[in-house]
Symmetry: C2
Subunit: 338 residues, 2 copies
Amino acid sequence: MAVTMREVAEHAGVSVSTASRALGGSTSISEETRTRVMSAASDLGYRVNRAARSLRSRESRLIGLVLNNLLNASFHTIAQVVQRRLAAEGYQLILCTTDADVTTERNLLETLADHGVDGVLVIGSGQNAEITNALQASGTAVVNVIRSSRRSTSPTVLAADRDGSYEATRFLLELGHRSIGFIGGPDTADSGRERLRGYRDALESEGLELDESLVLRGTFTPEFGTAAVDQLLSGPHRITALLSANHEATFGVLPALVARGVHIPDDLSLVCYEDMPVLQMWQPPVTVVDNGAQAIADLAVNLLLDQLRRRDPAQRDTRTYRVGAELLLRSSCAPPRP
Amino acid sequence: MAVTMREVAEHAGVSVSTASRALGGSTSISEETRTRVMSAASDLGYRVNRAARSLRSRESRLIGLVLNNLLNASFHTIAQVVQRRLAAEGYQLILCTTDADVTTERNLLETLADHGVDGVLVIGSGQNAEITNALQASGTAVVNVIRSSRRSTSPTVLAADRDGSYEATRFLLELGHRSIGFIGGPDTADSGRERLRGYRDALESEGLELDESLVLRGTFTPEFGTAAVDQLLSGPHRITALLSANHEATFGVLPALVARGVHIPDDLSLVCYEDMPVLQMWQPPVTVVDNGAQAIADLAVNLLLDQLRRRDPAQRDTRTYRVGAELLLRSSCAPPRP
DNA sequence: GCCTCTTGTGGAAACGATTGCACGGCCCTT
DNA sequence: AAGGGCCGTGCAATCGTTTCCACAAGAGGC
């Protein structure tokens, strides 16, 4: 059906091996035959058969991206950046979503291996290090993103969750707030733990102790956010500031605050985690901790390309990188009213 | 490195062909050898080499999805649904973004062909019908999504843009509005034309003529939305309702309305196109025309799977389907104040 | 008891590329 | 003028499967 290299070779009056070398090759080929083969190829509309090439040369030009879902803003930003960068380097992206399920994740990683991917970027559970390590060992490039895995032998790019949270909390403290609510993710998530730690560390830096009743942690859902706001605002202590550090919950937090008629920043100062368009257009625009999804994706791609280019697997990079968070000041924070 | 079928065969004491049949096969194999091969395979941790299979049997279990970008809500919803449905059927998704560039689109389609994809879903420019038709002719399943292409020989799933817009406008008319602003996409986009047509048709159904000064069309950017609001609200005619039918522009429209202190729905009734979380949590929650991205994706996947399963390419489905839009009533509309 | 038909199995040829090896010719050196 | 090296090329093996064909053995019909 499609035109093969053999036909190109015949058309150019050379052998298949010469055609192969002329088209792909770094090996010595006379300038004349090279151009002859080239033009034969373009005359016939030759296109390489990737499956055949992959079989023989073990290079598929396919990269797997494993992540939770595409609905989270950080995730689809990362997917977008990764896809674009890799396409520019001649790689295609196989997209896999796991719904945070460990078994699904394992199956997907194995399926990616079946397809002979040259590399994988994993925003994973951290529970499948044996598989990614095996991939790594068999010559596949691997980069862990956002989620770390202690037993992984591959480089990792993390968000500076603790630092971002620390900075946001310090900012609120410096405005004079002493009663700061915290809405976060569960202990099972790296981000859940780290953002809480940043919050606690900041309080301690001012000699304050963490008040358990101001800290609410739960699932990555809008519903939890709504419930958390209700609980915080009907609690015994009046909070004057709120750090919403659970991305999905933020979608419940914002309407809940509006529904209760909370005026921002007069009644309450608000800082949210992970920037997205809605927070810029919210009224007032919301001060956020930008976790730098784009920068994370860029760095992850760089580390992946490094591995793909490096022939010598001995000097592997197994380092963990942190991409700094940034506090983007907008209009949702003010000193507490007396 | 990886264990091959040959090793499995040896381990089970059969020939490679028998092993192949035992593992994949529909052909006759004694129950006993089948189980022997199966257990040999699982003992050794055998996994099929997809490249080899693809080369021999021309089935890659890879599907390409071509779209503009992932930042648009409808697009990443579609990507998410498509990926999930296909994974459940044992297909992996190769994700390609074009940035609406025709040349990029062509290159990506050809690269997908190089990889021997079994099918493609294209949210495309409509300019590359020769390529998708060639793919179709060579046995690849093709479905056009959202964007039509007159010369395409493949089935197409479209949003009911004209109808959605018509319905939204009728709804505003029935509330009593007579001066309704329209912010839309350019003429080059199907959606831009069709939504305008729905608006015009609805006006005509009430015997009203379209007032050019109330219709603003421009690029798919928030900036255009902001500018459009400024122009509409400082125009000679006071509008009492607004249909924001350009998804990206909506991100500029909403803050612009807030900035101008427009009270919704008292000063202005608002309907936006394409639902997204921010519109549910906006204050007040915004009435929208839901174009049914999820339903579109589901139908597109069904049509794709039909083609993949159907052996006989003669009785191909080349129909165009429309997925009905739905008006989701929230709180952003009211009768005009006298 | 012979012939045919079915069933299960193995041999070997693809699929379309890459690549190690060998070879013929030319240039250069001595 | 002869020998060594390099350059350009072709032959053929190989990657791991699937699948066509042939064949052996057993069942069943006459």
